[in-house]
Symmetry: C2
Subunit: 127 residues, 2 copies
């Protein structure tokens, strides 16, 4: 054991200690936020940081993800030169993006159910 109890001071282990964020969790949030209203990266970064569940995302990851979304046709972007500060690249979700979000939600539901089944088995063994 040693440091394994505590999340991040553990350099050698490859067995995925209970810490860190779930993978592939930010992306559906991005599409969902963009479904509510179009926004630029920095704005999305702000919104994600206001939600405890999505806090602390790496900006580099966010911007790259948005560009990838655009390459995949899930969003499209345009420059907003108005207002103060440097130009913003404003993202808008496409019909494909919304469709994709819907299918993503299906997988989220089934993953949630899977976690539930694990917990049931756990509880029938302990507690």
């Amino acid at each position: 054991m040693r440091n394994l109890h505590h999340s991040r001071d553990n350099k050698h282990s490859r067995c995925g200690p209970p810490s860190g964020r779930m993978l592939g969790f930010i992306q559906p949030w991005l599409l969902l936020l963009l479904s509510e209203e179009s926004a630029h990266g920095y704005q999305l970064l702000d919104k994600l940081n206001q939600n405890e569940d999505t806090r602390g995302i790496d900006p580099g990851f966010l911007y790259r993800t948005l560009r990838q979304f655009e390459e995949d046709g899930l969003v499209k972007s345009s420059w907003d030169m108005e207002g103060r500060g440097p130009a913003r690249r404003v993202y808008e979700v496409t019909a494909d993006g919304i469709e994709y979000l819907h299918s993503w939600v299906g997988h989220i539901r089934s993953n949630r159910a899977r976690l539930g089944r694990f917990l049931e088995t756990y509880e029938s063994c302990f507690g």
Copy 2:
């Protein structure tokens, strides 16, 4: 878009399409199964393949994970030479392993809750 709807025929995308397994999901199952009863790798592989939620795991990954668990003190192993076929390395969970499983479950619960909160937000926007 294009192939993005369908899980795996998608070479370029980095945005995590709704497909594939959740990361870090097999490991708590391993500790849980070993809490129920000690077993060797091949046996665990069998049990995982009988559960739809954990089916299809890579044997190499399983064996490496078990060795890592042992290095971290979560399990301990001994050789079983009896019976037919080649020798089996039998794993037994340790007290640390069980403690670790409990803390893992805490994170699983909170991840499940997070998915729930995402779905709530999604449903308040669509459906």
